[in-house]
């Protein structure tokens, strides 16, 4: 096989703008889905820590559904399925404002909320109850005990898996191409089918994906290092 690479193709015409747009869309999807997942994940984790049986069962069902159905199927269900249940005026509005981006954020965000809530729950469960009792005995209020004693420790324990899942959110935004969101993978395919410079364009976007993933991992490692518990 003779390799005959010509990366200059990628600088021609609209390709640089396309790639830029793809990268930005991927990052936007990641940021918004992460935000949704983090907020909802925290709420779910707290709901699961309550004493209400109903709350616990509802969260458990939510988590099981989102962890046991492929994300692509969840995206399809949101993009193709849910609008068909809504009134036509809402459907028309969703199409007009670019529903695919919105539904991709919702699907990825809701799915990953299940994973992040499990990470947080794992962190919270790892803190012995005596920690809470001891801080109350020292005179801290419930909120202070949570804020100063429990959460800092739980967050440290949950951090590594949360970073891993953040990388997963980033990687999984590529699935949005299946419903036509012009993110990096979609743009890569478009440029490939126009320019036929398969290796060049796939190499470029693979490197972009890898670089951003490694950056997220490195950021996570830096956070872990910064907030590690110093022991002698």
């Amino acid at each position: 096989m003779k390799l005959d690479l010509d990366f200059s193709v990628l600088t021609r015409g609209d390709y640089p703008q396309w790639i830029g747009h793809g990268v930005v869309t991927t990052l936007e999807l990641t940021a918004l889905a992460w935000l949704l997942a983090a907020v909802l994940g925290t709420v779910l984790a707290l709901m699961r820590m309550t004493d209400s049986r109903l709350c616990k069962a509802a969260v458990a069902a939510y988590v099981e559904y989102h962890q046991n159905v492929p994300m692509l199927v969840q995206i399809f269900l949101w993009y193709f399925g849910i609008p068909s249940l809504l009134p036509e005026s809402v459907q028309a509005w969703a199409n007009a404002v670019g529903g695919e981006f919105m539904f991709a954020v919702i699907a990825v965000g809701l799915c990953m909320a299940a994973y992040l809530s499990e990470d947080l729950r794992g962190g919270l469960r790892a803190i012995p109850r005596s920690q809470y009792e001891a801080s109350r005995a020292l005179g801290l209020s419930y909120l202070k005990a949570a804020r100063l004693v429990i959460l800092p420790q739980a967050a440290r324990i949950a951090l590594p898996t949360m970073v891993n899942h953040t990388v997963l959110i980033f990687k999984n935004t590529s699935l949005a191409m299946a419903i036509g969101v012009a993110e990096l993978t979609y743009v890569t395919r478009e440029i490939e089918s126009q320019s036929f410079r398969t290796i060049e364009v796939y190499l470029l976007s693979t490197m972009v994906y890898l670089a951003i993933s490694l950056l997220i991992m490195a950021g996570g490692a830096a956070l872990e290092h910064r907030y590690r518990i110093r022991t002698r």
Binding site: M1, E64, Y65, H66, Q67, N68, V69, P70, M71, L72, V73, Q74, F76, L77, F80, G81, I82, S84, L85, C111, M112, Y115, D119, G122, P160, T161, N164, H165, V167, L168, K171, N172, S174, L175, M177, A178, T185, T188, R189, E192, T198, I199, Y202, S205, T206, Y209, L210, S213, L214, M217
Partner: protein, 253 residues
Amino acid sequence: MSDIFSILADHGLLLLIGQYPNGPVGGLVLTFVLSVLGIALAFPLAVAIALARMSPFAWLRWPATTLVYLVRGVPLLMFIFWVYFFLPVLTGQAVSGFTTMLITLVIYQAAYLAEVVRAGIEGLSSGQTEAARAVGLSYGQTMRKVILPQALYNMVPAMLSQFVSTIKETSLGYVIGVNELTFAASQVSSTLLTKPFQVYAILAATYFVLCFALTQLARELERRIARRRAGVTPSRRPVRSATPVLTDTPSRP
């Protein structure tokens, strides 16, 4: 609800086995075949990668570590396209979507599974290796007869979760037109045109039943293994359990 039953009555067989026997096997059966073959072929590769990752030789460690980071950092979809475009170039002949998907899954799963195996090996106390070497076993014998049997036994639940991940990942075969369950469902949906919610709800429910059952099985096995380890070694220093390992390589959607 009646919609769902009529869809199942009309298209259930297509979702289950594809066009078979009048055409190639597809649907749920193909999804299952892809996942089983994928994980089975990935397993030996994963053990090799895990051992290479822990090898004292840099020339073994580096390629394995690179592969693991590549897989962890690049979307599966990108890997599918790489195999899709370059396997035919490398082999000089047309490659079916099934083969493309299978090869991608094997590479991708092998890297993730290697991390599971590595965590399993590292979870054993180093006394195991030391004792085995002290009684005169070679490295190969130590691994084959002492370390791997214990590590792999402890890893069974984590490997089952990997299998669940594989089942979910086969759905991406849709993108390159492999006639697995998701692709079959999208075909049904475009034939019916007006019932996307019902079709995709059936699709989600099917995956859910399959994956949830396996997840529950993994949890039950994990409990049993934990109990057994706790029972067999009551006085010894507690061995690190298999659970932190699971959190090391998180389950994937």
